[in-house]
Structure formats: C-alpha cells, structure tokens
Symmetry: C2
Subunit: 313 residues, 2 copies
C-alpha cells in the first residue's frame, strides 16, 4: 500500500503524519518549531518524531524550508497548481542518509507577498472540495492571516494581513493596553469594533485605532472590553480591506481553515459584511502533503483517488 | 507689566515658560513628566521649576490634567474657540496655597477622539497667523499624530493617527524588525514605502505592511532599509487616510508643528501626494498658553496684542 510520512514543520511546532493511501494513520505533535529544536537539532527531531515508523518517503512543508530552517528552498512564483509545485519539490539527504523532500513556499509578485506552509493547506482544501478548487476564496486566519484565490486547481493570488501580530502588539505594548484585566468575553464590544472598521470609509479601519482609547476615557467602553473592541476593529479591518481590494471572490462561500475559536470570530465579523463563510476546517495540511507527494510521484496514487486510471480499467 | 507662568506638562517632560506681555522671557525644561516625577511629586516639581520666579498667575496644559495627572479636568466638546476654552479653565489650589489653572483637553464626538495639550498649541498657531485661524489644517506629528481643522478661530474637527506608536511597536517587537542594524538613512526606501501606501487603493496602506518582509526576503530591500520603508509606509498611510477622510482642507498650505526632523519627513512624504506644507513651527505652546490666559482674564492683554482696544484709543 502507498504510504508517506508528512511533516508540518513551522516556527513553533512540528506535526508528523503517517499516511496510508492518503488517509492519516497516525499523528504526532512536538513543540519543536524551527526556533526551538531539541538537542541534536533537526536530525534528532526528525528521528524522534518518526521513531518506529516504516521507511516511507518523507515530505515536509512550512518554515523548515525557510532561510532560518533546515534547508532554504527558493519560493515558487504564482500561479501554481499541484503538478507544478510537486515537480518543484526540493530534495536533500538528511543526517540519517535518507532523502527528505521539502515543499517550496510561494511568492506573489503582487504585493509582493510570500507564504510557506499555507500553500500545502490550500492544496489540501482543493483536494477535499472540487467546487472550491474550481474557483473560490480561502482564508487562513492567524498571526499572519492569508487570503488566497484558487481557480482551476491553481493558487492564483494571495495577500497577507498582519492581523494577529498587530493585535498581540497593541494588546501587550501599546497605550491601548488599558491595564484592565482580561474580562469576560464582550461580544458587544467586538461587534462595535467590527462596525467601526466596516464604516471607516476610504480612510480605513486602522485610522480608528485611537477610538479604543477615546471610548474608554469616555466611559463608553469598559477597560476590560478594550481587547474585544480591538479584536473586532482589526478583524473587521482585515475583512474590509480584503473585500475592498477586489482581488477575492465573495459571491461564493469563503472557506476558513484554522483554529476553531478564531474561525468563529471571523464568521461573527463576517455577518456584519454580508459575507458567507462555509463551515471551517481545522486542519487540511495532511491532505495537501499527500496531494503534492502524488503529484511528485513520491507515492503511487491509489485507485480510489485516481479516476483517470480507474476509468481505463 | 502683565506676566504669566505657563506650563507644558506632558507624560514624559515638563517645560515652564515665564511670559512677559506674551513674550517668553525664560524657559526651563525638566524630565518630570507625570509618570516620572521627582521626590515630592507634583508640588515639588512645580516649586523647583518655577523657583525664583515672581508670583504670577499659573496656567498648565497637557497630561497634567488627565486621569493619571495632578487633577483630572473633564474634556470640553468641539467646536471650541479660545474664549470658550478660556472660560472652562479648571482652577485648584496647589500645595503652596496658590492657584494653578489647568487647560481642559478636547473631545471630538466624531471618532470619538480626544486631545490634551495639542489644543493649546492650536490656539498658539492661530494667534501667530490670522490666515491660518480663518480656515486651515494643522498637523502635529508624533506618537499620536493629530490632524486638526481650524475655522474662524475655533477648533472644529480633529483626528488621531497612531503613526509614531505603531512604528515603534513594529520596529521593536514585530517580525518586521529584520534584525538589521540601523543603517545609513535610506531615502529611496522611505519614498518606496510612501508610494506603496499612496497607491494601496481602497484596501489601505496597512494592508501592505507585510510587503516590508516580502521585499526583504526577495532581496529587493536591504534589511537595514526596512525601518525607512516602514516609516514611509506608515507616514504615507497617515497622509492617505486623512486626505481620504475628506475632513481636512488640503487646498491651502497645511501647517506642521513639531520636531524639525520629523516634520521634514512629513514634508518629504507630502511631496508624493501633491500636498503643500508651510514651513514647520517647532513649538507654539507658550503662545497658546498666553492666548488662553488672556481669554480667561488671568492676565491683562497688552495694547500691542489687542487691536480692538488699540483702535478705540
């Protein structure tokens, strides 16, 4: 049976998947992102996380292929489909004498912009849903939130919003850190922030950042609600700006991929924009690694997943 | 002769002016902002900074009147002219048994937004230039950059952009801190950032923040030039957003007030927007304190500064 070891190796974590014929047979998670490796570095991490697994082909995506990773892999330019990306896999020999394949990140000349790891999730999403692969917008919220446009099985455009990182910075270090303790969730404050961004007009939602302070001084916003207001303002601004860019399809349901609680916030914000979001997916990276491994010929595509060959029988 | 002790008392510094008939006779500066007072607190700071000066009326503006200041003074609502603000001065008895007058900050229901200290500078600017007082835009760049609209001697609108604070946060704590040492000034990178913001369209300039990283990874921006690019992007976004808001007059020269080097950056950025900025003023707070003291009747207006009375002679 065709098998693969897939690795999602990011800045702060490592997940290993043992795949059988495209299905996850076993998962292991370690806190060994590329900046916090165990003693022995990349080789030791790889040996431990795959210990006891058969000697299957190995494919990794994410920051492991960045300048500060194990082996730098140049970005591949947009547009790209699974076949093109599969052909561009980088291969090198790890310390154990066996090959490790790496997925290149993607570069969008528009922006310019870059991603590393999300491309694999996007191919996983397309494998799950052919209608999505035909033409859709996929959003991966997070520290650096990615909006991507997929069409005819290819990634054709994407844009990064630094929403998560800005929220953390403003919350921890700015004057908008009201000194209030984290209070109970304040959905009203969140919605108010979303609306402030939505209605900011051409000036843009971040021109309203200081309103978080003014509202608090006014007594119109409890100090403990400032983080929720700020979260709403930043998420709302991300939605406003990405819609206003005109680069992403919004007349079909948008697919969210990511942490369930964060995706729920995006759907809550989206309701104020008259956007339709499909039921989120938590994780599709294993599907993507499998797709790219098939495209690269690292694994034989099982019959059930290869309609063409199946048809030829 | 009419005299006044004027105090510009902010978060991180204290400046005291001894004024004779509206002219600065002596200035003293101390690092005693409201968050870093000397032993003995506000009273000791006031005693030391005015030591040896005659017992003149005392008027202070700035964060000294905020919640974390000496004595909280409620904000006054826009619009307001010098007479209205002069009548709203708050007076209390300091530890030395003598009165200290405080200038209220202003609140703009649009935003909402607040200022404390800048209102005094705005009245100083209007006193210096009657054409400006008739109808103009005044910009006070800084941590919290203020754009104000003045008309017929009144402050009628203002808006805060957190440009300086965002720059410091992104520079110190974000992924855009490339780890590069501060390099030589990179005017090209600054201009490139300004243009990226200007040409960002409806999505807004901050949607381009991540381009600082992508350009660096691309080798299209030297790590040491990232801060200048970021500075250009943030200043450019401030200009773009405030112009796009439609709230501020741009068909007459805009008056800058503030640090000379920072004002020079704003003028450089403004050139890409076809905006006209007048020669900046470094400091007009003493003029403003005098104007408000006159309006409040704290000092007698000298003949030279009172055209109406002069005319009646």
């Amino acid at each position: 049976m065709a098998g693969l070891i897939g690795l999602d190796w990011g800045t702060s974590s490592l997940r290993a998947y043992r795949l059988d014929a495209g299905t996850v047979a076993e998962v292991r998670a370690r806190p060994w992102g590329i900046r916090q490796l165990p003693e022995g570095g990349f080789d030791a991490a790889l040996a431990e996380v795959t210990a006891g697994w058969p000697a299957l082909p190995r494919l990794a995506c994410g920051m492991v292929g960045s300048r500060n990773g194990w082996c730098e892999v140049p970005y591949l330019e947009l547009p790209t489909d699974a076949v093109t990306l599969g052909r561009a896999l980088h291969v090198f020999v790890a310390g154990d004498g066996r090959a490790l394949h790496l997925v290149p990140g993607l570069r969008n000349p528009q922006g310019p912009d870059v991603m590393r790891g999300e491309e694999t999730q996007l191919f996983g999403a397309m494998a799950r849903d052919p209608a999505l692969a035909a033409h859709a917008t996929v959003v991966l919220p997070g520290t650096h939130s990615k909006w991507a446009s997929v069409r005819d099985g290819a990634i054709v455009d994407f844009s990064t919003a630094m929403t998560g990182e800005l929220f953390a910075l403003l919350r921890r270090h700015s004057i908008l850190n009201a000194g209030g303790d984290e209070g109970a969730p304040a959905p009203d404050a969140f919605a108010r922030g979303v609306l402030a961004a939505r209605d900011s007009g051409a000036a843009g939602g971040l021109s309203r950042l200081f309103s978080a302070r003014a509202l608090m001084l006014d007594g119109m916003l409890a100090p403990a609600s400032v983080p929720d207001y700020l979260s709403g303002l930043l998420l709302g601004e991300e939605l406003r700006a990405q819609i206003a860019s005109g680069r992403f399809r919004i007349d079909a349901p948008i697919q969210l991929i990511g942490d369930a609680a964060l995706c729920a916030r995006y759907r809550e914000a989206a309701a104020h924009f008259d956007l339709s979001f499909a039921q989120p997916w938590v994780d599709v990276v294993a599907d993507g690694l499998w797709q790219l491994a098939v495209a690269a010929g690292l694994v034989a595509e099982p019959l059930a997943m290869a309609p063409k060959e199946a048809r030829s029988c």
